[in-house]
């Protein structure tokens, strides 16, 4: 692999992993506090899956540069994290969490479906593995969007609010990182342009069928993964507090 391509791939894998870690972190805040026992269990499943995906992506990066996944997760600060802003947003209410998970799952499913054809076999293999879980996630979160959208006036209102808030943020999922065009040219990762078109088409249809209105003005759309919300710093402070508590500790 050419050095430039390799660097780009390392950066891309990092964004994939960072998104999953931070999303899983936000979802994990629900454990023990869900609206009903069964849903507590359900969201904890999705959360474990996403965290598992992060471990896989960091693992692929490790194969390329030998970096330690736990060092990456627990010893990088907000300047160094490359997650998108959508996943950093506080968990909000159940509608906010379910909608974010739906928007992300739909993006991830589409991305993985295409990534199964990656010319980089480890990535293709990981995509084939993960997509099975994402298919289930998508079924689950689709069902939730439909039910909250068509449930009560209150649930529809809360879901609509979440959509108005998140729609612009969600667009960042389709902003390529610097150097991504090299990876696309080599067939290592899918081109985000056609994926975005499919995502928009499927999300719009499902959201509208669920009685929601797509925001006319999508609002703020983050474009650089080097910038973050004001929430990331404190999220990381909490998440990394134990790991950083004893700098001598080699294993946890």
């Amino acid at each position: 692999m050419k050095p430039l391509v390799k660097d780009a791939l390392i950066a891309k894998l990092t964004t994939l992993a960072d998104d999953e870690v931070i999303l899983a972190h936000r979802n994990s805040e629900w454990v023990g506090h869900g609206p009903i026992l069964e849903e507590d269990i359900a969201l904890a499943n999705i959360t474990q899956d996403e965290l598992g995906h992060a471990i896989l992506w960091y693992g692929l990066r490790k194969e390329l540069d030998g970096s330690d996944p736990d060092r990456l997760a627990f010893f990088r600060d907000a300047y160094e994290y490359r997650c998108c802003e959508l996943v950093e947003l506080p968990k909000g209410d159940w509608a906010f969490t379910m909608l974010r998970q739906y928007l992300f799952d739909l993006y991830e499913s589409l991305w993985l479906e295409a990534a199964q054809q990656s010319t980089y076999p480890p990535l293709a293999g990981a995509a084939q593995k993960i997509i099975r879980e994402e298919r289930f996630h998508l079924q689950h979160t689709r069902a939730w969007v439909e039910r909250l959208g068509l449930g009560t006036e209150e649930s529809n209102r809360r879901l609509q609010q979440a959509l108005d808030f998140q729609w612009g943020y969600a667009q960042q999922l389709f902003v390529p990182i610097p150097g991504e065009e090299l990876l696309v040219a080599e067939g290592i990762v899918p081109d985000l342009v056609p994926l975005k078109a499919r995502w928009l088409e499927q999300a719009s249809r499902h959201l509208q069928n669920a009685g929601l209105k797509l925001p006319i003005n999508p609002g703020y759309q983050p474009t650089s993964r080097e910038q973050h919300t004001e929430h990331l710093w404190s999220l990381l402070a909490e998440m990394q507090s134990t790991a950083r508590w004893d700098p001598e500790a080699k294993v946890w």
Partner: protein, 322 residues
Amino acid sequence: MPGRYGVPTDPDYQERLAEFEARIRRGEKIEPGDWMPEEYRRQLIRMISQHAHSEVVGMLPEGAWITRAPSLKRKLILIAKVQDEAGHGQYLYHAAETLGVRREEMLEALLSGRAKYSSIFNYPTLTWADIGTIGWLVDGAAIKNQTMLAQCSYGPYSRAMVRICAEETFHHKQGKEMVLLYAHGTPKQRAMAQDAINRWWWPALMMLGPHDKDSPNTEVLVRWGIKTKTNDQVRQEFINEHAPEILAAGLSIPDPELRYDEKSGNWLHGPINWEEFWQVVGGNGPMNKERLEARRRAHAEGAWVREALQAYAARQQRAVAV
């Protein structure tokens, strides 16, 4: 098909009771629909629902550390573990439901503060090492109890326990692995592990319940095969397994009187502070108020979600009917 619950004033009560107890002695499982004494049902509902509440409240002290787990793997394990506790609550409420009580009623009893749950969850989790220690000691104590309850004469409770035991063994092992790792880790890790053992040892002994002589329900529970061992027996098994392992790891146990008794083969412990136990059971533990408040908040904040799905389901049904 519930409703076949006998009371002593029934004309055939003695006869049926004798048949019922004979079935239990033969090792048969009592299933929903079978005749049973109303008192058997009452005791089961009390025990199973308390047990379910304990699992659900038990998610909180450990759940609080998911966001601070120090490695990706530990975080994954802890989410799975706390999730299992929700599952255990879920299985147990189901077992109680087969006796004709609804989950709404049981939850209402918990949230209103009427129902009891295990005293241990009213202690705070102060450091990360508490997570390993809870897995090793608290789940270790729970397994002793649950292994016994898996033999229980009531089919649904027994089945829930078999399922739970299988999952609980994972909890116990991950906790033990963690504490042993820290016991041999850096000075800070070792100190943290020791501090956690110091704080959880006695509450773990207490959670197995009062001494037999102070446990009024034990006799009838044993006769009807709901319990097959007494609190003191289970506690002794727990100490015999865990005390030598903790010591072998180079950690100490906060009981100056603890010693191995050659004659009986048991590890004998010093006096338990039952005053503290009853204070915690009575609502005055360090975390009683916070735990209940957290449950109430989750329930209240989930109300609109539960309503929304019901409204959706009702709409679907109407659509089918038309």
